[in-house]
């Protein structure tokens, strides 16, 4: 049961992969496609495992990630 979800803005992502290395659940990965800047971007591949710990958002240098937490 997911406790939250990251909302990643692909157009702000520069593809540095810091969030991928920071995620304790290992549920972030880089996209196969490209954004308008021509960069690969971070995607959540298993949102149901997200604990809303915010690690990815805290380490994101480009403030491309918002975190939603589910109540209850």
């Amino acid at each position: 049961m997911a406790r939250g979800e990251p909302e990643i803005n692909p157009e702000r992502c520069k593809g540095c992969e810091l969030c991928v290395s920071a995620c304790p659940e290992g549920i972030l990965a880089m996209s196969e496609g490209f954004n308008k800047q021509g960069q690969v971007y971070s995607e959540c591949i298993a949102p149901e495992k997200c604990t809303a710990c915010m690690s990815c958002a805290i380490i994101c240098p480009d403030s491309a990630i918002r975190i939603w937490r589910y109540a209850g």
């Binding site: 540095c16 960069q39 949102p47 805290i58 380490i59 240098p61 990630i65 918002r66 939603w68 109540a71």
Partner: protein, 250 residues
């Protein structure tokens, strides 16, 4: 947002302008700007804050932080900030944002004397052990044997001396009230950095005096490695020479 009961728990801080910044992928400046914006929002001082930007990659800091700003000549940020602070007194809070080339090479005199006078300023020193903006030349903080554009065989201590430890140097002076070294290479260290910056800003708001926060940061482009490897380089190479921790808290 997938569910109706979802609550936004982490969002871009209000004091951070909603625009893409010019930093390279994996650069630490983006993280530090975000922390500063969060602290400015938390303290509710956005209307009364003036940032003094340095020369270096963060030269456009006032583009990204939604506060008043002033650009200083290379290395002179503490001198410019002294003027601003003395004119405005405690009605304005002056944040001085500097890199290692700015603070420790061309601006060493201004840094030391502003600290020695105990000006009521918050100095944010971003140490990435290289000159990022000009293309990766050796800085006073480049580590021994570190390869840069101007030390292709590694920094030779016999020729260039040991890298300067800014916190330890400032710590020999009487006047500063807060000195701490932190890093932004992991979530844990980022949270510690936020705590230190918060204290440094609070000191100024309360009129206590000079606060100096050194932040070890990543420059993947200048170092020629991947952003994720840069996090590890900070941990394995920089932190052993630049130990993290608080040096003074009065």
């Amino acid at each position: 947002m997938a569910q109706d009961n979802a609550k936004l728990v982490y969002d871009r801080p209000e004091a951070l302008v909603d625009r893409a910044h010019h930093y390279c992928p994996g650069c630490g400046h983006g993280i530090i700007h975000k922390l500063l914006a969060e602290i400015i929002d938390d303290a509710g001082i956005r209307e009364n804050t003036i940032i003094v930007a340095p020369v270096g990659c963060s030269v456009l800091a006032y583009f990204y932080l939604n506060v008043d700003g002033c650009e200083a000549a290379h290395g002179r940020a503490p001198a410019v900030a002294t003027g601003i602070k003395r004119v405005h007194g405690n009605s304005k809070h002056v944040l001085v944002y500097q890199g290692d080339g700015d603070l420790l090479a061309i601006g060493t005199a201004e840094t030391i004397h502003a600290a020695n006078r105990g000006e009521n300023l918050t100095i944010i020193f971003v140490n990435n052990a290289i000159y990022g903006m000009t293309g990766g030349q050796m800085a006073p903080t480049s580590l021994a044997e570190q390869k840069t554009k101007t030390s292709p065989y590694g920094r030779k201590v016999a020729d260039f001396g040991q890298p300067i430890r800014a916190c330890e140097m400032i710590n020999t002076l009487e006047a500063p009230v807060f000195i701490e070294r932190c890093a932004v290479n992991s979530v844990k260290n980022i949270l510690k950095t936020k705590k230190a910056l918060k204290k440094a800003v609070k000191n100024q708001v309360e009129g206590r005096g000079y606060s100096f926060v050194e932040i070890l940061s990543m420059c993947p482009t200048g170092w020629g490695i991947k952003p994720v490897d840069a996090l590890k380089w900070v941990e394995d190479a920089m932190i052993p020479y630049y130990p993290l921790g608080n040096f003074r808290d009065r």
